[in-house]
């Protein structure tokens, strides 16, 4: 079954300078029990996507078209506010970049972990035990004593693990993790993603993992969705995306990663140009003004070309051979 099926989603914000088309024809699935990575630069619509899923779009934002189907039953774009509240937390939970934003600094960790179980019928003792179990699961040493401590008494890595424990406490079907490892050093980043992988297996949930860090995506995710200027330009399995990128943006993005330059260089590769103004989207391909393989046809909207089943690129030339073979 598919945990989250996003189909042809369009979101517009009304601004003083006219409507801003923040998400355009976004389609992808988060299958059950899989970790799906979302890659894209700031402004590509990742936050809008999260807010659309959680029903938290700002007042000037509207879903014009499309659907977000959760567990095959709930249509999130038209869900009532009260049903949405029932889903947020127990069924769909989130972890953000800054764990201090998720933890209340003046309430002990234990109390926060018990409080968030307010929907559960367990007794106080059982809830406490559940909190201890979760802290042990995220490898917080001396979990029982940790319950009495306050967020500032933990290190950055531990705070993020506590935030993950709280997000997974109610065993949600979907965890949305928005750059959860960005503030951590490489050793803690790796431990945190390994932990996330283990917990995902154990709880059997799906994860939508958002990151700029291509290395982390490659290591953690099963599938990858590449977003650019509010569109999904390519999606596929992690291997398909990293080893055989078919959209020119994906290919260039991977080439730009300094981690791929094994020779030390002072001049890092870039993608020249800027994202077009989303208030005046070009009628054709959104990447055409920066694309190294642009053709006359690109002034018309490109198709979602199927490379193989499940590997899709929104590009006219996606099925033509590339001159560099994809890997830099």
């Amino acid at each position: 079954m598919t945990t989250l099926a996003i189909n042809n989603l369009n979101v517009t914000f009304s601004t003083e300078a006219g409507p801003l088309h923040a998400l355009k024809n976004v389609t992808f699935d988060i299958p059950e029990n899989r970790i799906v990575g979302i890659v894209g630069e700031s402004g590509c619509g990742k936050s809008t996507l999260i807010n659309a899923i959680l029903g938290l779009l700002a007042d000037n934002g509207t879903v014009d078209d499309g659907s977000i189907l959760f567990e095959g039953a709930d249509e999130l774009t038209t869900l009532s506010a009260s049903r949405m509240r029932d889903l947020r937390g127990p069924r769909i939970s989130t972890v953000f970049q800054d764990p201090m934003g998720a933890l209340n600094p003046v309430i002990s960790v234990g109390r926060q972990m018990i409080n968030i179980q307010y929907r559960s019928d367990l007794s106080k003792e059982e809830k406490t035990q559940r909190a201890i179990d979760m802290l042990e699961l995220v490898r917080i040493p001396d979990a029982r004593a940790a319950l009495g401590r306050y967020p500032h008494q933990f290190s950055g890595g531990m705070k993020q693990r506590i935030a993950i424990a709280m997000a997974l406490m109610m065993e949600p079907a979907l965890l949305i993790a928005d750059e959860p490892t960005t503030a951590l050093d490489a050793t803690l980043e790796v431990t945190t993603i390994e932990l996330l992988k283990d917990l995902q297996q154990e709880i059997g949930c799906s994860v939508m993992f958002i990151s700029h860090h291509l290395g982390v995506i490659a290591e953690l995710c099963d599938d990858v969705v590449v977003m650019y200027a509010g569109e999904v330009v390519e999606r596929g399995t992690t291997r398909q995306i990293f080893q055989n990128p078919r959209h020119p943006y994906t290919a260039r993005l991977l080439e730009c990663d300094p981690a791929r330059q094994s020779e030390r260089t002072r001049h890092l590769p870039t993608i020249p140009g800027e994202i077009p103004d989303l208030r005046a989207r070009p009628p054709g391909c959104i990447f055409a003004n920066r694309c190294h393989r642009v053709q006359p046809a690109c002034t018309a909207p490109p198709p979602d070309a199927v490379i193989v089943d499940g590997h899709i690129a929104r590009c006219f030339v996606a099925n033509e051979p590339t001159e560099v073979g994809g890997i830099a």
Partner: protein
């Protein structure tokens, strides 16, 4: 390193008071750090959030008083200067702060933002409109951006405006705190290339703070690895990356995720947690997590080894390619 250093930091400590009534004590955010930055050189500080990188940068810039040590900039002792005498120093040493959009006032236009340094420092006799055009061209932005507001900029453009502000008064040193955080890899490359071009053209020295090791590898001449407010290891970037001698740098470098789903990692996993600054471990402060720990690491602070411009704070510096001595167990 025949030239005189532009910045010399000697045994600097920064302490923060903690505790409330009757229980006053202090913690060391920076616990005795020494380094030099030479003209035209890029010096990188790496370490996790909370390791003291930003505190150290703020101390260098005079935004954070230091409790011990000395900071010398262009031959002048600057840690003892008061606010007023520090002001001219800041013309020569500019700082780029972390959040690209947040560090720009939302109500000022780009033109006002890039010329604000001239007004703050009372630089007269300059045509500000021309200066704005010059600076925007220098950082690769169209001159007609002068009328835009920060919310009309992309992350990369906002960063360029930040760079323009930083170079406005012809500084000798730029301190850039996470100059690429939150930018995607292509925009990150643009910003780093820009900084590097300016460094070459204007002969700037740079101090870059980041936790992106891939970035450090490409842009930095020298790198210092920070942990709990101290340098664990410092040296030429290629030496440190090629053969780390401190167990923490070795672990950091081995952990670095790479964009290849089939990569087989040979990682050094670190057990236990980062200790609290309130309870620094005895002896070597890394011993609680060190896979190579031996008895005297637990009781005696390591002596710094200096060799060929390289510093390692370890009793037993690693040989190239060293692996942890015992079979690793998964972290408890």
């Amino acid at each position: 390193m025949s030239t005189d250093p532009i910045l010399k930091v000697e045994d600097v400590q920064v302490s923060f008071p903690t505790g409330g009534l009757g229980r006053r004590s202090s913690i060391l955010g920076v616990a005795g750090v020494s380094f030099e930055v030479h003209p035209g050189e890029t010096f990188a500080l790496v370490g996790e959030s909370g390791s003291g990188k930003t505190t150290l940068a703020r101390a260098v810039n005079g935004l954070q008083p230091i409790s011990e040590g000395a900071i010398t900039f262009e031959g002048q002792r600057i840690d003892t200067l008061d606010r007023r005498s520090m002001k001219p120093v800041r013309r020569r040493m500019s700082m780029m702060f972390q959040d690209p959009v947040g560090s720009l006032s939302p109500r000022m236009t780009v033109g006002d933002l890039v010329t604000e340094p001239f007004r703050i420092h009372g630089v007269e006799g300059r045509n500000l409109r021309e200066e704005a055009a010059r600076l925007l061209t220098l950082v690769g932005l169209p001159v007609d951006f002068v009328g835009r507001f920060p919310h009309q900029l992309s992350g990369g453009q906002a960063r360029r405006v930040g760079v323009a502000r930083a170079i406005a008064l012809d500084p000798a040193l730029i301190i850039a705190d996470e100059p690429t955080a939150g930018l995607d890899v292509s925009v990150q490359g643009e910003v780093l290339n820009l900084l590097n071009d300016l460094r070459e053209r204007l002969g700037l020295a740079m101090m870059i703070i980041t936790h992106n090791l891939h970035v450090v590898h490409h842009v930095a001449d020298r790198t210092a690895v920070m942990y709990l407010g101290r340098f664990m290891e410092a040296g030429n970037t290629e030496d440190v990356f090629g053969a780390p001698q401190h167990p923490y740098s070795a672990a950091l470098l081995s952990a670095n995720p790479e964009p290849d789903p089939d990569k087989v990692h040979d990682r050094i996993t670190l057990p236990a947690e980062v200790p609290s600054l309130l309870a620094r471990p005895r002896g070597c402060e890394f011993h609680t997590r060190c896979p190579w720990v031996r008895d005297n690491c637990r009781s005696e602070p390591p002596v710094r080894h200096h060799e060929n411009g390289r510093t390692v704070a370890c009793h037993f510096p690693l040989e190239p390619g060293a692996r942890p001595p015992v079979a690793e167990t998964s972290p408890a």
